[in-house]
């Protein structure tokens, strides 16, 4: 049962990605004023960098949030 989880997650991500792409409408540059708002940025906030850094040390899971994936330690 446990081994089926990664496959299910990968499959789920793929289906999610495909459904997103198929649901897309062509958005013209002049329609992007809301998307260009700084609060809509798809990266994590600059002010989150140290929050993510301590979460990296306090939890076993890490990565895929714009932070580093090892190295540089600071593992206090």
């Amino acid at each position: 049962m446990k081994k089926s989880i990664p496959i299910a997650v990968l499959l789920g991500s793929g289906i999610f990605a495909m459904s997103l792409l198929s649901a897309c409408a062509t958005v013209k540059p002049y329609q992007k004023n809301k998307l260009n708002d700084s609060e809509m940025a798809l990266s994590s906030r600059t002010a989150q960098k140290f929050e993510q850094s301590f979460q990296l040390y306090r939890e076993g899971g890490s990565g895929a949030n714009g932070g580093k994936s090892g190295g540089g330690c600071g593992c206090n």
């Binding site: 999610f16 997103l20 609060e39 940025a41 301590f54 890490s62 540089g72």
Partner: protein
Amino acid sequence: MRKIYLHVLLLFLGVLGAHGQIKSKPAPADSSNYQSRKLKLDEINLVSAYYHQNGNNSAVTGGIGTEKLTDFANTIDLQMSNFNKAGKKNTFLFELGVDHYTSASSDKIDPSTISSASMADTRIYPSLNWTKSNEKTGNAFGFTGSFSKEYDYQSLGAGFNLTRLSKDKNTQFDFKLQAFLDTWKVILPIELRPATSGNGRESRSEGSSPRNSFSTSFSISQVINPKLQALIIIEPAYQKGLLATKYQRDYFTDGSVRAETLPDKRYKLPIAARLNYFATDQVIIRTYYRYFMDNWGIRAHTAEIEVPVKLTSFVSLSPFYRYNKQTGTRYFAPYGQHDPSATYFTSDYDLSTLNSDFYGAGIRLAPPHGVFGWRHLNMLELRYGHYSRSTGLVSNIITLNLKVK
């Protein structure tokens, strides 16, 4: 003679008067596509954070004892750019980070010393990224070099990044490759140091050991409609070398004690998605989900939601909540519960089964004429977050981000 003087005076006044009638003309507008090639400072970001935690499961003392720790972290980054002759943009991002921490548990490595070097430490980490981009197509590539040093740890990093944008600029693909070549000074707890080390004070370290990390990151972002956009990111990573922290103790059911031992290889696979929605003119919904797995048996689900509310066009308030649920590594056992026949063992509660809540709020000011009327201070953001973990660890963090343009 007087006539000569009068003539000279009149001539001089005439020259002055003639000059006074010349109006300085503004430089004609450049109708060509020429752009300045001089390196220009685009922006400076300053981020400072104060972090404090407390708990009672220190890994240094085998899963019991204080986890009290404070950290004062600061980074400054300078972003500079110029255009080359072909019209391509070069962006240079230089970052310097310095953080200073005090850790009560680290002092338990050798309790006979009043204040060991590891009780308080300063880490310095500069990095430089160069990215070359085509402003017309949005495609870019770049390289990063980084360095980090603290008392028992040194790291050398290198990276490559690539961005490809679709013709309609609604789909973006990003690829990142990173390598960190680290050297870790091996420090054992005082009672586990070999007899040849004397009383341990002369030879705190048992040499050094490498820890190398390699990671790749693939992400695709997509504009779905004028109010909605999404991102999917997969970041496989591989680590090799000394992955255990040798000054952390482990106590066994037979009463013996050994230094933490973990496999020297670790594969990690985090998969994440972001979905941002501009719900109304005042409310934006930012969401994040991540699934994590590794070959040590850790599985984790992380979900995050943040709802920035625009109080005015230039001020927004952003409450946030993050939930994390983790299944711990198979090598974990609490204080005194390790099997003496085990090959790998840890009592580090960061690797145990846990769940955590992190919540707080941020305020962001970005008025068009500068924060507090200072034209160059483009943005100010202040965030506070409270973290509580099912193992009893609690922490608070306050962060200030200033952007100068």
